[in-house]
Symmetry: C2
């Protein structure tokens, strides 16, 4: 290795950490990074907490995602889970497990992506703590914390028959982007090929947009908070696929979610089965003015959790990491 490209193995934990912290916005927490733990203010006496991990292989490929993309995505998926409860994200804790040979430039890119994701999606939220470990498998475990600001938490279990079903955000766009990666950015053997600026500029605008949304999801955090303020009875982040996530919400609420196919866009199968857009599925009392667009109605629990135009959905429902991850693809 050359002096020009130092790796994390060349530096102490403190040096790696400073390289990250220097790129993040200054903490505004009562106690930020540097102590055994951070201290965060949650004025109403309740804190919302969630954790989600990105693992090289199942969750991303370094050929496809830049370090900045990865940092952005790691922030976005966690911010979405906090907002789905009706809480404003206030802090991230980031645990990085990295091979020794990881370039320091990569770690800096990750920090830039985390900072950019927070700034664009949840202004005021910052990285307030973390952990560095050595691992053979690059792993980014993020915990996000949020403040309810007096709101009641919005759970999966609150949907009631007669409620309107809304989707806030996009459907199937990130899945289209994933499909592009597998079809346009692999070699003859199926191995990932780098997404270069040239490769991106060869895409038509809609494909380029879809690729960007796959690499950097944009959960509409502010709209989720507006949905909570508007009286959402149930809400969740749509991460694994609308049909699968709606099944989870329907099961938790003991109702059936009845989708209108006509409201799901041109490609209904993609809208129902494609994951990773990180929009929100929310239910509201009939007649409430609420964010997003109406895609169905909550019915009393029937034989199945989810229907499309009155029939059970038999297509692809979404992504389950332990059933769908094909290690051979890695």
């Amino acid at each position: 290795m050359t002096d020009a490209e130092p790796t994390v193995g060349d530096l102490s934990e403190g040096q790696v950490l400073r390289g990250i912290l220097d790129r993040l916005p200054a903490s505004t927490a009562p106690v930020g990074p540097g102590d055994d733990a951070a201290v965060l203010a949650v004025p109403d006496g309740r804190v919302v907490a969630t954790t989600d991990t990105l693992v090289h292989g199942p969750d991303f490929r370094l050929a496809w995602s830049s370090a900045v993309d990865l940092g952005y995505k790691a922030a976005a998926v966690n911010l979405a889970d906090v907002a789905a409860m009706g809480a404003r994200p206030i802090a991230l804790l980031v645990a990085l497990a990295m091979p020794d040979e990881t370039p320091i430039a990569f770690v800096r890119g990750l920090a830039d992506g985390l900072a950019q994701g927070c700034a664009e999606l949840a202004p005021g939220c910052a990285v307030e703590g973390g952990d560095l470990t050595v691992s053979d498998t690059l792993t980014i475990a993020v915990t996000a914390l949020g403040s309810l600001e007096g709101r009641a938490p919005v759970r999966r279990s609150g949907a009631r028959p007669g409620d309107a079903v809304h989707v806030i955000g996009e459907l199937g766009v990130a899945a289209r982007g994933l499909d592009l990666l597998f079809t346009r950015f692999t070699d003859a053997a199926g191995s990932p090929v780098a997404v270069t600026p040239e490769g991106r500029s060869a895409l038509d605008p809609a494909d380029s947009y879809a690729l960007d949304r796959q690499l950097r999801p944009r959960p509409p955090i502010a709209d989720a908070l507006r949905a909570a303020d508007a009286g959402a009875t149930a809400m969740m982040d749509v991460s694994d696929g609308l049909a699968l996530d709606a099944t989870r919400l329907a099961d938790a609420s003991m109702v059936t979610i009845a989708f209108d196919a006509g409201a799901l866009g041109e490609d209904v199968a993609l809208a129902l089965g494609g994951g990773e857009d990180h929009g929100f599925l929310a239910t509201f009392p009939e007649g409430v003015v609420a964010p997003g667009r109406r895609v169905g109605t909550v019915h009393p629990r029937g034989e199945v959790a989810v229907t499309v135009d009155g029939r059970p959905w038999t297509g692809h429902a979404g992504w389950d990491p332990y059933r769908d991850w094909d290690a051979g693809r890695g």
Copy 2:
């Protein structure tokens, strides 16, 4: 694989999750596991948050640590970081990244260890959320949250010249246990050999105790809270080695920590350089009755951060994962 030994790859994420949740005590949080995020009560409007990761290879070997040991240790190291701030641990979030071929029995053991660690070390603290991912490298990323209950957070930066320096908990015991693993539980090639009941019973009582403390550290959480109540000016978890951690506290406080060798036990080098006991290093105004035992005095900042009987410490100071982890040992 046989029906008798199902692996996580055989089951859905929901099934794996239920196998874990069924073994954990029931949640007492406003919103526990099962939603996009948990909601936890922190009545004084401040939450303490920390994250720490255990990775197979650098942090543990499956030949040496049982699943229950690992769950216990993952809880303990994070509970200690919360308590070091003067906060009572209230919740853990656990992100597991596991190979497909991980036996479900292993996952159940991890859950048992997490539950046992919480029950013994921080009663009332429970696993309130988590995440499951597939990974080639078994990784346990835990986030712990705590409630200050009106206390001022105790930081690393508050030590003042003239303060008494205390250690709360044991020194060098876990390091002695680690040394036993490398000397007594490896084969001729240096590869780990399973720690069996027979192998353990062949150890003398002191070695058996040290091995247990390496595999299941017992941070004295209640004593750390008593230290905060007694007016600790600075405190931190001793995880990487007393000399290294004292250097961090001294640097943050801009003081020198002057240890008395006579107060550090029979093996001064082991006490200063051995990590993983997860006791606490704390400073108190002179004359305060406080938990632990006095091991030195805070001096105005001199040429070095740490002295032993007035001289700089030139021995092993502790563990830095990016400098000390020798991949060849894995």
